[in-house]
Symmetry: D4
Subunit: 208 residues, 8 copies
């Protein structure tokens, strides 16, 4: 069904032992396998059994194999404002790459520093699809959505405190955005954003 | 910025008088104009002043002009399960058409009647992008997302009662879907789904 | 305690009869009286008894008397993006004026149309205090707060639908804003924003 | 009142010492005793005092005695999609067995892998009652409910993240299901599902 | 799939015209048809076209045909405490009867008047399955569940005010009940309770 | 203002050092001092500095001095159903005693074991005021309130899981109770219940 | 059980016809009957059949008979800040009086006008029990609770807007009050407050 | 843009290593730098690398450099009621001072001890702006707002338990306050309150 799409394991509720068993099994039939939400200690246990895997600490992912050989695809742009949002952004970036997409990162673009965002706009506009990762009030996709005509995937993060309620605040911001053409995924779901961006990107050809 | 995209007026909080003034103004500069969320009585007042408009009662939209001349685009599939979800599905369909996209409707596909859904699957899979409209528990996008590899846009509706809380139930279902590659828009936001589907569809060529 | 501050009646839960009685009483001791949240039919009943009052339909306020004679005060800037937010913005503007403040309105500044906002920035920066009124996702105060150094008062409105939950979405956006120096008032509380802006403005001298 | 029903202790808020005292007491009057929600370290302390008990690590239960001698009863089918939901499914299975019911487990049936579910359908349909355990979006009971005519007991689990809100998402999905004939129990309440399934199963005879 | 089960139309979001069309169609293939959530004015319009239907004002249902010929089934007991909960209780009772079940009503059993409840206990215990309908704090199923060993289906209603939040209060009460063997359906969902009770009852033989 | 009322320190957010300082100070002016919400390790540090205090582990309180010499007061009855609710019940009991009230405990009265509750009713009815402590669904005050005419103070506890949401479920149950004459305090607030019971009890004379 | 307590009917969900039937029945066995939550049009229909009843428009109650002949009881003080809270305060006052209690009203005491509250304090302190009715932020019981030693019953009202969420705001304020000795009833539940105050007051003798 | 405003780092999600790098960088271009939300262990690691910084344990802040040289500014008054709220109050105080404002602290003013608050009122009234920090029910800003005419910035804290929901209770209290002229910031956001107070204070001259 999903040819060209790596097998993806949700690592959060699995033990190192379970991960080793699943990886060993999948490696036999698939060229690329990813496990998301793997903490460093758990990763180290898995790596000592399966040293051919790679751990990506900021993205908190374990991977096996190389990205799929891409047919000529456009670029997926990944935008994030705050340092604390980077784990989610990196999860999205790594997954998108493993699915065979060229990825370009714009990690220092906050709504507060608008001029820097405007300065990068020409480069951002050359991407095929955009993933916007934002915690706190999550206003970035609204601003970006008003400036570009590409599809925008908005990922709220759980970064914040108080009335943020673990991501409720940016989730509602993104769902209620005035800018048309924004699709929202679950809080902290970098992987889901990558999967949607990949599905979209495979429809298009080279960059516009 | 958004060439090939009709002007879209949010009709909900505007009087007939305000709509007449805005339509008259926009008609001078744009070949196509849509107003969403227009009740029939309000539409009738607008039509008596601007008889060149068309009212679409189920979609609750007023339109001016013809769909944009499409360059060769793939089809947007619109799925809905229940009769009560049709206004939202029709808003999505009409907006997607006015933006120049071929649209195919699959309106009788409920999770309860799984065999009919499976029967239509070959046709559904020929679309470029899918919009899934669902109220009640909103499980349709999860099932569809597991069966197709295209991008899926999920639209929760406010159709339900009790612990549905005006759309909260299907909204959460869709955000938490196990099926990858689903982007969610606001409750009842048929227009937003169409705008995202259009942006995605313009990246792709003919149907896969 | 609050010299130079008009008497303000909350009109929402009062009958025309009660309003007439209260206005008649307050007029004897105060030069200026405002009633907020007065619907047109209720206002008309009050006006037939007290023709010396003035009704402001968009602000939904009844007023008696003239604004307080201002000592030289700076300007309160009032920003709003959408047409549907204007009743709240007008309530704020009228109350601020009745309290003796010069008011300047910037009513067409949405996050979606960023360039227009940037174009007006020099004028906006000449104000002493800013009131930002926004429904939908309520991102305007975050963007403004990053561009100016004045105090910003953010007013979420109940304008929206679905997961907006009658103003919850922009309320959370504003409370979680990354931009420092933003104070939030209750949903739709234009009057409260004006009262705070007035208290702030009285501390300052002429425009900076 | 509840003859043929083992004594069930809710272990979560009890110390090992309290559990030892209660087990010692109940063993004198009852042939079968279960304690649910017992962590492994706590279980080990209890076992060192009462070695005649058995610990079931995945179900997190301590049991004493053998299942009740069943009069001829139909089978309770227990369905679960994800690995992370297994502790709840196992709690349900173990409790149902200790109450004297034949139990059949279908643990690899996810809505995403619909064909496997359809493949197992004939076996699933031979059960008297079904318990559906599901986290994430919790769509499994809706799909099952549309395919079978037996009573379905839906158990939402706290497995998920972000807008899952510790089980709220699948709880609402299950309460709002379009498929008729579904009864819902509390989040993670495998024991409660077993108790209800047992009460239902005792009404019926052999499998249909 | 569901032989012996009447067709059930959800009448809430349908016009009289739509109901007439659906009834006309279903009557040709089914001996019994029910529409739930039909207001009196809507019912009257339908009846003028289809006088062979019957309207049940308290249950707010339209029915066609007679209950299914029951094979020998046990009785479904329906308990309700308050007058205001009767529409939901009657919807459950009527639907259960149309599905061919003997029904016994216990409508004056409140937790406040405990002695009356205890007095009726012998009769209640002779039923095969119990449906407990309760608004306000919804404590009835907890008390009943502790007194009987049959399956109990709990239906929270939207009857209450203030912190009741349209049924949230009794819904949570029922989901958190200490009494084992309780399955909960959506707020006000009398039909769903009947469907579940019917599925359960068909497993059993005559009354225990 | 509150003669005859011990000084009460909220221990939860205070260090042992802060507690020692506050106790040392208050002991000079007051015959009785209580600190609530003190964990055992913290208590031990305080006791090593102030060995004249007493620690009550189940109630999690530190006390200094003896209960106030009571003028002739009626009894405060304290009811609780579950073992896990005892810390809150004991906090209420200890505080009520330190305030000079005779206290009688009924700790094994659950709604599920109704006959035991009915058996104790004559003793319960001899109390002047009742404090009902209940977690899970919190139905106890509703049942008690229907059986007695004394004032009932309901204390929801955070004991539960899933849709209990840390006490929300029993809090709503108690606020929506059909039984008149029930006042509710915050979740787990045993001290607040004791303070209200004491204020009520001081109005009355000996037991009725 | 509750001698000296009038029969009280909850009028909200009953038709005039049902009220007439219930009143006619209860009048035969009881000297005093109250129905709460009766709108004026419904009351007028009832009065035309039962002219011996009295309608109290602000309290929205229908009463039959005279208050119970009080044994010598202390006074119940009823405090309210805003005009809009008076229906709830009046429901409490009327019910308390019908139960035989002397009632004193303090209706112009807001936290904003603290000096007036302080001025009335000596009179307030002479009451036996206090009922505090407050909407908006609901701070009145906290302030009163700190100034008096009597039991305080707090009644949040649904008067407010925006983030008030129909009474949630003052409900939480009251439940979290720092002032000890406050019991809270449901939003707008004037009757419940009166029933609790009456139960408390019957314990006491004359005013302190 | 913000001359005279120190650089402020949000320390919560940063490692000691990241903080050292950022401080080293900012020190080169700025005379004053603050990091908020720094725990003691993290601070100690930073200090061992950068001994020229100062750690403020109660405010949980690391600072570099001296407060900005103030032009003649009025005083910012900081009010707090409870000991547990002091970390938030101290964060506000330290930030306000580092921004160059004279600060006066009123830390023992609770709504329960009203007379002390009234006693300090003359001093409180001499401040230019007031920051009110309050957990529990958060009534302090309402009371203060009614007694002064200065701008009041309200900071709800997460101090409380049960239905406090980590600050929701005082947040709603403050947003719904009857007293005009109150701006609210996020739960526990002492820094944000200081930033707003500073912006306001820079408008004013010397104390009024
Ligand atoms: N049904 C709808 N839901 C959400 N947004 C809409 C809808 N219809 C139109 N819009 C958006 O609202 C904008 C126009 O708003 P307005 O200027 O208030 O008419 C358009 O640019 C659209 O992006
Ligand atoms: N996992 C569980 N979830 C909910 N209720 C349970 C669970 N395990 C046991 N119980 C119930 O808790 C009661 C015993 O509670 P306790 O007396 O506290 O041990 C039993 O009668 C069961 O009905
Ligand atoms: N009151 C009700 N509540 C929930 N579901 C209902 C109700 N009445 C009918 N239904 C369900 O709705 C389905 C019919 O929906 P529809 O095709 O929209 O009429 C039936 O198969 C029933 O399962
Ligand atoms: N305690 C705090 N709460 C909210 N925002 C803060 C806090 N401390 C610093 N900030 C803001 O966070 C920004 C720095 O974020 P960062 O670049 O992640 O260090 C600063 O410009 C401040 O506006
Ligand atoms: Mg765009
Ligand atoms: Mg898919
Ligand atoms: Mg700024
Ligand atoms: Mg079924
Ligand atoms: Mg039972
Ligand atoms: Mg009672
Ligand atoms: Mg007091
Ligand atoms: Mg003030």
């Amino acid at each position: 069904l999903r040819q060209g799409f790596p097998e993806v394991i949700f690592g959060q509720n699995k033990t190192a032992k379970q991960l080793i068993r699943i990886f060993s099994h999948l490696k036999e039939h698939h060229g690329t396998v990813i496990a998301t939400r793997v903490s460093r200690p758990k990763a180290e246990k898995v790596l000592s059994a399966l040293p051919e895997l790679t751990y990506h600490p900021q993205a908190r992912c374990l991977t096996y194999g190389q990205p799929q050989r891409p047919r000529k695809l456009g670029t997926i742009g990944i935008l994030a404002a705050g340092t604390a949002d980077l784990p989610v952004a990196e999860e999205a970036a790594l997954c998108a790459e493993m699915m065979g997409n060229p990825v370009q990162k714009f990690y220092d673009v906050g709504v507060a520093g608008l001029h820097r965002l405007l300065h990068l706009l020409p480069q951002i506009r050359r991407c095929n699809v955009l993933i916007c990762v934002a915690g706190m009030e999550g206003a970035l996709p609204s601003v970006i959505g008003g400036l570009v005509s590409q599809p925008v995937i908005a990922v709220p993060t759980s970064v914040g405190y108080g009335s943020h309620w673990q991501g409720l605040a940016p989730l509602l911001t993104m769902l209620n955005s005035c800018a048309p053409g924004i699709g929202v995924v679950n809080i902290d779901n970098g992987y889901g954003a990558a999967a949607l961006a990949n599905a979209i990107n495979r429809l298009g050809g080279v960059e516009t």
